[in-house]
């Protein structure tokens, strides 16, 4: 069964991230690379995407004639998606384990970051929808 692991942050987190030292950034990136390789080797990796800075984010709705109407987002009050992983595992517990590993990715000074990771099951069959 597939799960998506969503990494979210408040807009302030991005500002903070931009102030990380080079060593801290490097440690974090190396952790992520190692972690992604582990997912590959374990045969559970499906997809990963990191998203661009939230300042570029737009809310889009369809206008009267279906044309895109864009609105700025409100960074102060909202959480943003930073990126996600899709994994294919056999149990929810396995997904939680993997999420906990990401959550512990090193932050400033190499301390585990303890980022909240939202774990959601990906629908895969009619059975999941109850029909």
């Amino acid at each position: 069964m597939k799960y998506i692991l969503l990494m979210r942050g408040k807009s302030g987190d991005w500002d903070e991230y931009a102030r990380w030292s080079k060593e801290d950034l490097q440690r974090n990136v190396e952790f992520m690379q190692r972690f992604n390789k582990e997912l590959h080797d374990a045969g559970v990796f499906v997809d990963i995407k990191g998203l661009a800075w939230p300042q570029e984010a737009k809310l889009v709705r369809a206008g009267k004639n279906g044309e895109p109407v864009t609105d700025g987002v409100f960074p102060g009050s909202k959480e943003f998606l930073a990126g996600y992983w899709v994994i294919d595992v056999e149990t929810p517990e396995q997904a939680y384990q993997i999420a906990a590993r990401v959550s512990a990715a090193p932050g400033p000074g190499g301390k585990p970051g303890s980022m909240p990771i939202e774990v959601r099951k990906v629908l895969s069959s009619h059975g999941d929808l109850g029909f």
Binding site: G43, F45, D88, L123, S124, L129
Partner: protein, 232 residues
């Protein structure tokens, strides 16, 4: 290549799916190295796709495929010999005494042995499914990856870990004894059922591709039934 694409080219694709498990049985039995035998048969199948498409299917395709797979296996052992001397000696021993192993086979079809091995309870369901489709179903890693909507590298790792598990657990390449067989048959049927369900209940992916999974499960179940020594 997606399953559905292969279905549109029945002569060689279907033939190979039928032949590959038999040939794998012969090579695995002869060299007592399932992991390498599986790779050798895959390589031979790729060679067959290319050559048969150009020159037509040979008169005895099974013999052709067996011979090429055995040659690939020998090449593999030679090339590994410097690095893995000990393993070469083991394989060499098996190769030196192939007659008994081959002669023990004629009454029974090795495909059934393969099915029992691929669906061994030591494997997790996902690993067993992947290995069954590849080794007993004769599907390529890319096809299996497409069917389960995961990257090919992920599926390749899953299959390779499944083979590793089999290697480490020392599961012998032989039919389980009569007592064990009923229990083991249940795990075979469970894996086939899961494959069928994956095709039957899926709402993601193209319909054709998923329906092919159900078809494959039915084909393998029919085969398992046909190969039962006693009526099941």
């Amino acid at each position: 290549m997606a399953l559905s694409e292969q279905a549109s080219d029945p002569p060689i694709g279907h033939l190979l799916r039928e032949l590959a498990p038999h040939v794998l049985g012969i090579v695995a039995r002869r060299f007592a190295d399932f992991d390498a035998a599986e790779d050798a048969v895959q390589e031979a199948s790729i060679a067959a796709v290319i050559q048969w498409a150009l020159e037509g299917v040979p008169e005895n395709p099974r013999a052709w495929l067996t011979q090429v797979a055995l040659r690939k296996m020998t090449d593999h052992i030679r090339s590994e010999s410097a690095r893995r001397r000990r393993e070469m000696e083991l394989a060499g021993e098996a190769a030196r005494a192939p007659e008994a192993a081959l002669e023990a086979a004629p009454g029974e079809d090795d495909t059934l042995v393969l099915l029992f091995m691929c669906c061994h309870p030591a494997l997790t369901p996902a690993s067993a499914i992947a290995l069954t489709l590849r080794a007993a179903g004769g599907l390529s890693t890319a096809e299996i990856a497409h069917a389960f909507l995961v990257p090919e590298t992920t599926m390749a790792q899953r299959i390779s870990r499944a083979k590793q598990t089999i290697k480490e657990s020392g599961i012998p390449f032989q039919l389980p004894n009569a007592e064990e067989r009923a229990v083991r048959l249940r795990s075979v049927l469970h894996v086939l059922y899961l494959i069928f369900n994956e095709g039957y209940t899926a709402s993601s992916g193209s319909h054709l591709r998923r329906a092919d999974l159900s078809q494959e499960a039915i084909r393998l179940t029919r085969m398992a039934l046909r190969l039962q020594p006693e009526k099941y």
